[in-house]
Amino acid sequence: MTAGGVSRLTIRAVVNGRPRELDVPTHALLLDVLRDDLDLKGAKRSCDSQVCGACTVLVDGLAVSACTYLAVEADGRAIVTVEGLADGDALHPIQEAFIEAGAVQCGFCTAGMLLTARALLAENPTPTREQILHSLRGSLCRCTGYRKIVDAMEARHGARVEERPGSAGTRRTFGGEGAMSGPPATPTTPEERPGSAGARRTFGGEGAMSGPPATPTTPEERPGSAGARRTFGGVGAMSGPPLKWIGRSVRRVDALEKVTGRARYVTDLVVPGMLHARVLRSPHAHARLARVDATRARALPGVVAVLTGADLTWCDPYCGPAFRDRPILAIDVARFEGEPVAAVAALDEATAEAALDLIDVDYAPQPAAITLEEALAPGAPLVHTGEPLAGHFADLSSLKPEPGTNVCHRFRFARGDAAAALAGADLVVEDTYRFPAVQHYAMEPHAAVAAWDETGSLTVWASTQNPYSVRVELAKMFGAPLSRIRVVVPHLGGGFGSKTYAKLEPLTAALAHVARRPVRLAISAAEAFQTVRRCSARVAMRVGFRRDGALVAVECDAQYDVGAYADIGPRVVQKATYTATGPYRVPHVALGAAAVYTHTTPGGAFRGFGVPQLAWALESLFDVAADRLGRDPVDLRRDNLLGHGEEFAPGDTPIDGKYEESLGRAAEAIGWTQALAADRGRGVAAMLKASIGPSVSEAIVRLHADGSVTVLASAVEMGQGTRTVLSQIAAEVLAVPLERVTVVPPDTAITPYDQTTSSSRSTTMTGRAVQVAAEDVREQLLRVAADALGLPARDLALEDGAVVSAVQRLTYPEILALRFGMSGGELIGRGVVAPGRSAAPLGGSTPFWEMAVGAAEVSIDEETGAVKVERYVSVADVGRAVNPLVLEGQDEGGVVQGLGHTLLEEMVYTDGHLVNGTLLLYRVPRADDVPALACRFVENADGAGPFGAKGAGEGSLIPVSPAVANALARLTGVRLRDLPLTPERVWRALRARKDPETHAGEPS
């Protein structure tokens, strides 16, 4: 013991059963030592404040937050990380349970959840549900909705999985041959297989989405057109030939790597020689940068590069998908609190952090417009004064800002004469609804690693949902051909829209360029609050009905707060407003919306893409109208639902599902007509959302000499299970076991173009491209086999890795040997799905409509205003569930994320500052917030995707707010118009109802 203390210590710890001796600085956190020194990357950094549990490890059997625990405390102790849970190849039972229950999605929370579970179960092998929820009080998950995690911990998963449709039963072992490939549910004859000619006629192959070739298609062939609908799937296809892989709840193909901590995310990557970056951010909502002087920072030993906005003369510093209005670093002016002003790349993160303190910035604070009202007021401070450049999408070229105002884009859509129809309506209900700015909180904060090589090629490993959009941005900014920009995407720890379009990639690439070394930039969860958020909105809506309940007109005037930079906000506004009328038949519409700049974090894509904001208004007003008309809310909706095949708008895809079935099943499941306890209320809401059109997905399927299959596609695995779904599709078409299929993660140098992993499109579009590519391989196999056997191809079918006729059988290796005359070579199939532009109002038809209905049962603590959602039912019309368990998990997560903005979440600004921009202060749903939850599907195989599937995953979230508010209104008579329904807000509304005189005019 010296008066000076020690700054380093040698510690001895047993890590995952192995004695270790480590010399560590006293300020080293256990998480960093495990991840960086021991290469144990399973523990993750997410909230960095002991709230989320992603960094959980066990120290002498007790769970600790490794992010806030000194490594020196591990001295003399036993550490267990997720890598140490399994005994060699034998998984720990809790790992098995997580896989079986479907408790693994993006995987970023998984290690922490597993270790928390293990610590609990070690002390208490048979915990009650209350004890499980109590143990999960400090464990957040943003994907799963927690239900399957709790199921796994209850170890009742076996029974549940077997109950599920599409399940092949439980398998307790992992990794053995055939473990993922149980026998087909029913024996099939070759003629019945989907690979057979008969099946091809049913499931498409000739239609527009089934290129190659990628030649322009005629309108009749478009997937949205009536002709295409006849080609694809069609009602009744569910009764077609039995499928081996489609429709089965097979284990996720990435489950094993995720439960063992081996799955790699961008933050886990180490590129030799890479530097570490940190970002200096503006403390002001709006400020002129009078001086940015990095002289002292540049002089700090270990600092390799410092960038400021003024340094960015050698590249085009602006980016943005809608408008190229966002500089890599603030140039002359900072437009929101947290805007990057300078960045440092240094030998280590600590040096980079220290250098930030040495950058001298003189800010001249300016008046700021934080709210929509402030931004739209006459004489408001302008966020942008110059004309922004158009973004990089041709289909967004129609977007136009209004000079001299903060309106960055205005969208209008009209049909009929809404004003006259409203004037003549028997009932007009109208009100203004507000939706808050909320944060995605994907548990993995954004990260990127960028490296330039000596030839001027750039590689970026990025946590992005659309590598190809990032590639376009980087190519434009750095003046490089697309072929020289390579964007690689490993696993994503959740996205939800936050990782669409360029985020950190341009800055990281610019730093790497200046530093002439690879650079890694991994931001914190708190910085994610300063990166992107959901567009908040104010929606004024008028809805007219005839006395008989027929909806005659909808008028909508919405303003979306898109923050300081447009990002994809204008597109959010345009696309959502187009469907503001929801799933209803409305003859007269006048829909208008403005995207409005404010001096706040940029608003962008977030699950639902602008639709939740409008559905909140429309679906609430629907119940107001039902009340006024004396109609049952379910009946009133049913009367007005668009029918299957009915036109939504001229030129766009007709409705491709059966809403009445979803509505009926939701009503039945919640017990709509059943007696209800006096202290409960029930509510229902529906949604309609378009996916992206025009839209492109391409895929390559390679059949190798040994009969195994590689799928090249660029759909990003972010927890939704796309790798598993694409594997199932390829395995189905090529009749091979699932474990013989490998899906290569997106890499723009290797995997072909895919527009984006968003808009619920991957199963439909990328999946269809994989199906087409696999069918291309199948045709080649059949051709070679037909020649060899002297039989017409129509007499042949694919079965268990072979082409078979009634009497003969040629395995794939045999066929490839015949084709190439040697044991080598491969068959390559190509799939292109490119519906192209159409006469639809937005310029492209949606490839499918996302359709769902939600129903809630709530109770209220009247004295506190706390709303409790007791039960919730979601029914989504998915065409066909390729993997029911994965889809169910996704929809459960959607409902719970919806409960977040319904009851809890809101980014709060006070005096121009975001006051709850950390997970300590921004509350997302926890396991104990989850109601009794049932997510169900309507499956009529009528989707445009493979085997009649269509997109899902956003639909479950959208009805949550209005369903809950409608239930609350039916219970209490109080109608709330502002989200979230915090206890205080509800309490105030209840008080105003009881005592309207005293509390009149209070905000609700």
């Binding site: 013991m1 008066a3 000076g4 203390g5 020690v6 700054s7 210590l9 600085p25 006293t26 300020h27 956190l29 960093d32 960095d48 404040s49 002991q50 709230v51 549990g53 959980t56 120290v59 007790l62 769970a63 600790v64 937050s65 806030t68 625990y69 000194l70 020196v72 928390t116 610590a119 609990l120 109590h134 143990s135 009080r137 400090g138 464990s139 993160e349 600590a350 952090e353 220290a354 109770s859 603590d861 004295e863 506190t864 706390a866 709303v867 409790k868 009851l903 809890l904 709060v908 006051v915 709850n916 997970l919 300590l920 202060l921 509350r923 915090t982 206890p983 205080e984 309490w987 105030r988």
Partner: protein, 302 residues
């Protein structure tokens, strides 16, 4: 990420205090680190020396000598599982089970919690009703302070820079006291905490003395003498009759501000609601009622 610091591991409290005296503002006592390291990571605190107090003799023990003494370095987990605490102050063990989350409880300490004086904390509120006395040691010797005097405001205590919080002494309620702790709020940390204890006469028919504290609403938790006075002498069956009145009294005794946890008037009203509810639960416990404790959304009842 933490900035570099020197770690000191003194063997005795005297050495620790000497270090703190020498190093002055540059040093911070360090126990579980659940609050300290968090603030250091955020750059809000930048001590260049940490003085580890976990290993100091007596700092991690729980002793019973008429009163119950919790060493400053005793973890929440240890409190939750201590047979001594369960026997002498069962509500303290029950509340410890609900502090923050399991990881914080495994590492975080009683002393750290009190010394940080986070206004949204459970222990200080509950301890006020146990007439908690904190022991401080320094090169000048030992002193004792009532917890009410030790906690001066939000993140503010009477601890001098060279002083260490060594332990906290709780005066257990008489056997049979009917008590409850209720916390409420949607946020990570509680919006409101109410500790209420009814000391009963031998026949459990009448309240001889009451202790009530409200936390998280004001910058520091407060005892509510007006409520305690109103409850004194009330017959158990008549407690329900005073529930409304004591709620109002408690609401009048707090001075909340508008903040992220809610508007002042809402918080004041919630004080009334939860003091009433706490009383009803405690009254039920006084009657030995076997009816289940009601559940309220976003509320934890210990």
């Amino acid at each position: 990420m933490l900035r570099p610091f020197a770690l000191h591991r003194p063997g005795t409290a005297e050495e620790a205090c000497a270090l703190l005296a020498t190093l002055g503002e540059d040093a911070a006592p360090y126990a579980g680190g659940t609050e300290l390291l968090l603030l250091m990571k955020l750059g809000l605190l930048r001590p260049r020396h940490l003085v580890d107090v976990k290993r100091l003799a007596g700092f991690d023990v729980i002793t019973d000598g008429g009163s119950l003494t919790l060493g400053a370095a005793v973890t929440h987990r240890a409190v939750e599982r201590s047979p001594l605490v369960a026997a002498r102050c069962p509500l303290v063990a029950a509340v410890a089970r609900h502090v923050a989350n399991v990881r914080v409880r495994n590492v975080g300490t009683v002393g750290g919690n009190l010394a940080f004086a986070d206004p949204h904390s459970d222990l200080a509120t509950l301890f006020l009703t146990l007439d908690a006395i904190v022991q401080l040691v320094s090169p000048r010797g030992r002193r004792e302070l009532a917890l009410a005097d030790f906690t001066r405001g939000a993140w503010e205590t009477a601890r001098a820079a060279d002083e260490l919080l060594a332990s906290v002494r709780l005066t257990p309620w008489p056997q049979g006291t009917a008590a409850v702790y209720v916390k409420f709020g949607v946020h990570e940390r509680p919006t409101l905490g109410v500790a209420l204890a009814l000391v009963l006469d031998a026949s459990r028919a009448r309240v001889t003395e009451a202790r009530v504290a409200v936390g998280c609403v004001d910058p520091r938790p407060v005892r509510v003498p007006s409520v305690e006075a109103r409850l004194r002498g009330v017959a158990v069956p008549e407690l329900e009759d005073v529930a409304g009145a004591i709620g109002e009294l408690a609401a009048a005794a707090v001075e909340p501000d508008d903040d992220l946890h809610g508007s002042a008037d809402y918080k004041r009203e919630m004080v009334a609601v939860f003091v009433r509810r706490a009383l009803r639960i405690a009254a039920g416990r006084a009657r030995g009622a076997s009816t289940p404790i009601p559940q309220f959304p976003h509320a934890v009842i210990a």
